[in-house]
Amino acid sequence: MHSPQPNLETRSSDDWPSELYRVLKAADVRQMSYVPDAGHSQLIRLFSADRDVTTNVLTTEEEGIAIAAGAWLGGQRSVLLMQSSGVGNCINMLSLSAIGRFPLLMLVTMRGEWAEFNPWQVPMSRATQPSLEAIGLKVMRAETPEDLVETVESAAALAYESDQQIAVLIGQRLIGKKKW
């Protein structure tokens, strides 16, 4: 399902993962779960090194939807990281967030839409936003590092303060070309 992840071209001027970490910490996120994506690797490292945040590596993305609901029942805020191919795995489990009005914040790195080498990423890439909207999520999207940080800050407030279910799609153009 997920492609192997060779190195990304790094752009040292764009340290948006550290900014996202800062924003999510400021929003009092206490649990983070993920299926890895190269685009999320730095954010995963930052959270994994943080003793105040419980981090769960998942076998499939919908597990994180359930963990986030459980965390909220227990009084903690949670964030879920995945790539666009994982959105398809989540759809039925998102019933839980939708019908229970559980705060949900998913950060989704897009594949299959910008200089993509792997055609198998393209169908789910096309289906990502429509399927999330069909199950009732609000979808926000960012194409630049500046816009992304502001978008995640706003999405966190909407999720945790207004009980909304939000997916922030991180454009593949922003993440950079993958080297093969």
Binding site: W72, G74, G75, S78, F102
Partner: protein
């Protein structure tokens, strides 16, 4: 191994939860949700009517947020089979306050009693052991369920999974509220959190 289970599921769940104290309980969709409600509604119950495969993982998020409380995911064989990967996730997370109890009738009881994988040789306790769970076991009699209740009342070294083999039958349904927002807010209020 394929001996016919004789245990009544309602009697088993009643014995399991007789002295639940402040244990928080998440129930899997279908019969486990009715079983949990049948022994008495409780503010510390979160009943699922969907999200199949999610009960134990909701339990994980809750256990991680409330490390001082015992958390029980009470589910069925079909529900847990849909979340097998979650056992690996829970094994890695290694919460010390989460127990999974599978009320195993070896059938999909809600949909016409089709035989499930656990009636065809799949052993959930062996899978949990392979995922690194701290303890597992199978109960087949009320006396064994009573011993299990005492065991899960004491802290574990890590997550534990127990199977209770029960007779495949559908007792009269005992239906909790289907309003998840109400149940969620009631549960959070029970723990001292305000509704938004």
């Amino acid at each position: 191994m394929s001996m016919q289970a004789q245990l009544d599921r309602r009697a088993a769940v009643a014995a399991l939860l007789k002295d639940r104290n402040d244990t928080l309980v998440v129930s899997g969709l279908g019969s486990p949700t009715y079983d949990l409600h049948s022994v008495g509604d409780h503010d510390g119950n979160f009943y699922l009517w969907g999200a199949m495969g999610g009960a134990a993982l909701i339990g994980l998020g809750l256990a991680q947020a409330q490390p001082g409380k015992r958390v029980l995911a009470l589910t069925g064989d079909g529900e847990q089979l849909m979340g097998l990967g979650g056992l690996a996730t829970i094994g890695v997370a290694r919460p010390r306050n989460l127990d999974i109890v599978v009320i195993d009738n070896q059938h999909f009881g809600e949909t016409g009693m089709q035989a499930s994988h656990t009636g065809r040789g799949v052993d959930l306790t062996a899978i949990a052991t392979a995922c690194g769970f701290a303890a597992t076991g199978i109960a087949r009699t009320i006396a064994e369920v009573e011993r299990l209740a005492a065991q899960i009342a004491a802290p574990g070294e890590g997550p534990r999974l127990f199977v209770i083999k029960v007779l495949a039958e559908n007792p009269p349904r005992s239906l909790p509220s289907r309003d998840a927002v109400f149940i969620k807010n009631r549960f959070r209020a029970h723990l001292g959190f305000a509704a938004a």
